[in-house]
């Protein structure tokens, strides 16, 4: 483990952005934080987390796939992919860090999504431990330790210093690039912080959040539960929960006619939207209840069923904070769970 005084953090930013793009959470002027490309003078936000999750960097909201050009009546197909640049994500929290491994299960299993893959390869993640979690946090329910985040490099901020520990080879390589400004440090420095954070986590309102009874055995029972109707009754059908979610990975593929060519791009879709899974014959999910149920069944039942028990949620609490009607996964789990 190595450390750096926070006074010199901008030196670190400089060194990293010398040969890679560096992104970190900064205040966006609307009282919230969002990832921005680091420029000289920028400082990291004090906010616990960003409104949009870090998944944007590997799975952006819109992404051009291919262009078609019409010359008269014959069509020319153009691959618009450009070689992605290396980039570094700084200050990612444990929950978002875990979300990457969930997305990997979707995009890197056959057939591999080459767009996503290339971004993952070019990105290095420096995570930052949490010390003051929000009441909306429940990552521990998914076996995430916010005091000891995953990633290529993990970091901790403890009285005036920031501590780094490379987890992966990629992380080690990156860390070498700024070794020069780091000092030796030993694990014990952050141990107290870790235990403190764990204590706080245990005190959180959602500490008792659990998913007992959500295994795939319960699939039909949950699916047919009469409670969905009531839960979804006032759902507005907006996409807020899905768009701030670090693990939602549904997308739609659309064409856009620019006038001189057709751009085929993909963009995030939301299971809450009226035309989600709309097909030529119509839509298998017609009511908001069915759409609403899909979102939670997917995260809490279907996904674990296909991914040896891993849930499609990391407990970041964004949907709890952002849903216009405050109907969220915590309430659903409570209502449908065994407890």
């Amino acid at each position: 483990m190595r450390k750096l005084s926070l006074f010199n953090i901008s030196k670190l930013y400089e060194m990293i952005s010398d040969n890679k793009q560096l992104y970190l959470p900064v205040d966006n002027g609307a009282g919230q934080a969002g990832y921005k490309k680091w420029e000289y003078g920028m400082t990291m936000s004090q906010a616990l987390n960003t409104v949009r999750s870090a998944k944007d960097f590997f799975f952006p909201q819109t992404e051009n796939l291919v262009d078609f050009k019409m010359n008269g009546k014959n069509i020319e197909i153009i691959d618009t992919r450009s070689e992605a640049e290396d980039f570094v994500l700084f200050g990612v929290r444990a929950c978002d860090a875990r979300s990457f491994s969930i997305l990997d299960k979707v995009f890197l299993s056959d057939p591999v999504d080459s767009f996503y893959k290339s971004r993952r390869e070019h990105g290095t993640v420096i995570t930052l431990s949490c010390t003051r979690p929000e009441e909306t946090c429940f990552c521990t329910a998914f076996g995430i330790d916010p005091s000891n985040p995953e990633g290529d490099i993990s970091s901790w901020i403890e009285d005036g210093d920031i501590y780094f520990e490379a987890i992966t080879d990629k992380g080690a390589v990156l860390m070498d690039s700024f070794q020069s400004i780091l000092d030796e440090a030993d694990e014990s420095a952050v141990e107290t912080q870790k235990t403190e954070t764990r204590k706080i986590m245990a005190k959180l309102p959602l500490a008792d959040f659990n998913l007992d009874g959500f295994g795939d055995a319960a699939l039909l029972e949950k699916f047919n539960s009469p409670k969905w109707a009531e839960l979804s009754r006032t759902c507005l059908g907006c996409g807020t929960c899905t768009f701030v979610c670090p693990t939602c990975q549904c997308y739609d593929i659309c064409d856009f006619d620019t006038g001189h060519e057709v751009k085929r791009f993909r963009c995030w879709d939301s299971c809450m939207y009226s035309d989600f899974t709309k097909m030529a014959h119509g839509n298998p999910r017609v009511t908001q209840m069915e759409k609403f149920r899909q979102r939670f069944m997917h995260k809490l039942v279907y996904f674990p069923a296909n991914n040896n028990g891993e849930y499609g949620c990391v407990g970041c609490g964004r949907c709890l904070a952002k849903c216009p009607i405050s109907m969220n996964i915590a309430k659903v789990a409570k209502k449908l769970g065994d407890n």
């Binding site: 008269g72 009546k73 006619d257 006038g259 001189h260 017609v286 209840m289």
Partner: protein
């Protein structure tokens, strides 16, 4: 996917002169949906149309684009062509590469490039066109003629003769209009009354004609074939059907100091009056502004003397609502006000008169019983100066830019009549040009000069100044001998410019008929549709469309009548199929569209719909009456959900045109 044929017209050199038509045809070949693209010197010609017909059949086209002149010119032509070939006429669009391209651009590459873009836009639209079937609407077999002058009377008579009912609405107490005020008519010099009054009587007696005299049009609703008109019958305080027109009331009426408009205020009439002897209807009218009974309640003499008991002081304005299939505007004209022409001293001397006033002076029934005397002192004038183009062909802004057309001839007439009756007079005519186009016109004018020695002087009068002993000092320039002239005249007659009657403007708004900058009604086409307004079902007769003399007016009146007859002869009209329709699946029933529809074409119905969750819900949705809808599209924009769309001009079609243009 459509199969579209593109047909580029050279219009001789009109288009081909500045647009490389073959290049256009070539460029459009590769547009989506186009299966054939060709060009031809005259697409509108029979052989041109045959090219289109054959192409449609041979390639069984589902759409066609004609790159040619304005759709306002030949859209109808080509749509007929399409129909002839079995293609729905509304699958054809026109790219206007003449008026909006070849005629305004000088540079060939530029014009060609633009023509190609316009063609692409039309193709993009046709790709989204759908066949439209025109609906039908009934025709009310009754016509309305607004204005009871010679134009209105002639139109009404011709329509009535064809066996259709006609109503005439005349704002003054009698029909007859300006012609009734005239003495003689050029170039034949026969008396106006002698040829007009029989027609007035004929109109009055015709079983198909109903005359609303002393009435005005208050409101016009509906559309071609189905107009509903509200007519305001002004109270004349005399029971029309009872009054015998004996005139006793006029003699006994104590209030005789009312300026007589029929004689242009040159003498007086009584408060209860019949405008002139041959008035139709020959019915007295009480002038409420002067009748002591109506104003103070004291008098009532006319009621006492009326043996027929026709007087009714309690009469009120009355509103009649009638349905018509066609409306003819025949609102006529007036001489302009001369306030801008004080140099001619019209306001200073009563001996300076307008031609129409002179007309009355010469008329046996006029203020002077036909004797030529000066209005000021009743003395017989010896030197009379006529000034032409007073307010006509005037670019100074004081008067009218146009030529009033009739002045040259009636001035010649006046000069001739004067010299004939009073050989002792000296008559001068000042003119810019003498315009005598018309049968026997120039002969007529030459007679005035050669046989009657009228002094025609090319030049304009600078000033007319009344002097102490009642003479008029006329200052003028003779442009031919190039000298200043000073004439001491007894009378000066001003050939005053004419303008459309003031009532025409408000009427035009009611009829939604367009007008030009001079307030003359505009015709649908200056050459090809001269008696029709661009607004369907509205026709034009007489001076309200532009200056003309009596023979022209009568012939135009006849022409208008024929158009009306042609319309009324139909039992059904095919409506414009480019009308709005509402997609019930999208309609919210919010009523916004209903509020902006000028025709009340939108109504609402409660309809059952299957909800996504398969339950039934009743929703209020808009439905459009295709016969009433005129296709303006106001509703389509006020509809937030886009449920309202316009056939033939759908959102998608318009956006496709936009895309093609911006590409």
């Amino acid at each position: 996917m459509q199969k579209i044929g593109v047909f580029v017209c050279h219009c001789g050199t009109n288009i081909a002169g500045t647009v490389d038509v073959t290049a256009v045809a070539e460029a459009l070949k590769s547009e989506p949906g186009v299966v054939i693209s060709t060009d031809y010197p005259y697409m509108c010609s029979e052989s041109g149309q045959n090219i289109i017909i054959n192409a449609i059949r041979e390639h069984n086209l589902t759409g066609a684009v004609i790159c040619s002149c304005s759709p306002r010119m030949h859209e109808v032509t080509f749509r007929k062509t399409a129909t002839a070939a079995g293609l729905n006429p509304y699958m054809l669009e026109i790219a206007n590469i003449r008026e909006q391209c070849s005629w305004i651009h000088k540079d060939m590459p530029t014009a060609t490039a633009k023509a190609i873009v316009l063609g692409k836009a039309a193709i993009a639209k046709v790709n989204l066109n759908v066949p439209l079937i025109a609906g039908e609407s009934p025709v009310t077999k009754r016509a309305l003629v607004i204005g009871g002058g010679i134009a209105g009377i002639q139109t009404a008579l011709d329509i009535a003769e064809a066996g259709f009912e006609v109503d005439i609405v005349e704002k003054s107490p009698t029909i007859g209009g300006k012609m009734a005020q005239m003495d003689k008519t050029f170039p034949t010099l026969d008396c106006a009354a002698c040829i007009l009054t029989p027609k007035m009587v004929e109109a009055a007696q015709h079983e198909n004609i109903k005359i609303y005299s002393y009435s005005e049009v208050a409101e016009v609703k509906g559309f071609v074939g189905n107009f509903t008109v509200k007519i305001k019958k002004k109270a004349r305080y005399v029971k029309e059907n009872i009054c015998t027109g004996c005139g006793a009331c006029m003699e006994k009426c104590p209030q005789k100091k009312v300026s007589n408009e029929f004689n242009l205020g040159m003498n007086n009439r009584s408060a209860i009056y019949i405008p002139f002897a041959q008035a139709v209807p020959k019915v007295a009218t009480i002038d409420p502004d002067y009748c002591t009974m109506l104003k103070s309640g004291k008098c009532g003499i006319c009621a006492k003397v009326c043996t027929a008991n026709a007087i009714d002081y309690t009469q009120q304005d009355e509103y009649i609502e009638e349905k018509y299939g066609a409306i003819v505007a025949a609102t006529g004209y007036n001489p302009i006000s001369l306030e801008n022409y004080d140099e001619f001293a019209y306001s200073q001397s009563r001996d300076v008169v307008t031609s129409l006033e002179y007309e009355r002076i010469l008329n046996a029934a006029g203020p002077t019983d036909g004797k030529l005397v000066r209005p000021s002192d009743g003395i017989h004038p010896h030197t009379i100066v006529f000034i032409q183009c007073v307010g006509s062909r005037d670019t100074s802004g004081c008067g009218k830019q146009y030529c009033s057309k009739v002045c040259c001839m009636y001035t010649a007439k006046h000069a001739m009549l004067t010299r004939e009756k009073y050989p002792d007079t000296d008559v001068y005519v000042f003119y810019i040009d003498v315009r005598t186009p018309g049968k026997n016109f120039d002969e007529f004018y030459r007679r005035a000069v050669e046989d009657y020695d009228v002094h025609y002087i090319k030049g304009m009068v600078g000033k007319v100044a009344p002097d102490a002993n009642g003479k008029l000092m006329v200052q003028a320039s003779d442009l031919i001998s190039n000298e200043q002239l000073h004439i001491t005249a007894d009378m000066v007659v001003l050939a005053t410019a004419i303008e459309p009657d003031k009532s025409a403007r408000s009427l035009a708004t009611m009829l939604t008929a367009s007008m030009d900058t001079n307030d003359f009604f505009t015709e649908a086409h200056a050459k090809l549709r001269p008696v029709e307004s661009p607004t369907a079902g509205i026709f034009l007769s007489g001076m309200c469309q532009g200056p003309k003399d009596i023979p022209e007016t009568v012939s135009q009146a006849g022409a208008a009548a024929v158009k009306v007859i042609g319309l009324l002869a139909k039992n059904k009209l095919t409506c414009n199929p480019c009308v709005a329709h509402s997609d019930e699946q999208l309609c919210n029933g919010c009523s916004s569209c209903e509020k902006v529809c000028p025709y009340g074409a939108i109504t609402y119905i409660d309809k059952e719909f299957k909800r996504p969750d398969r339950t039934i819900a009743v929703r209020r949705v808009a439905s459009v009456n295709a016969a009433v809808c005129q296709g303006c599209g106001a509703c389509t924009v006020t509809c937030p959900s886009g449920a309202m769309d316009l056939d033939g001009f759908s959102n998608r079609q318009i956006m496709a045109e936009v895309d093609a243009i911006c590409r």
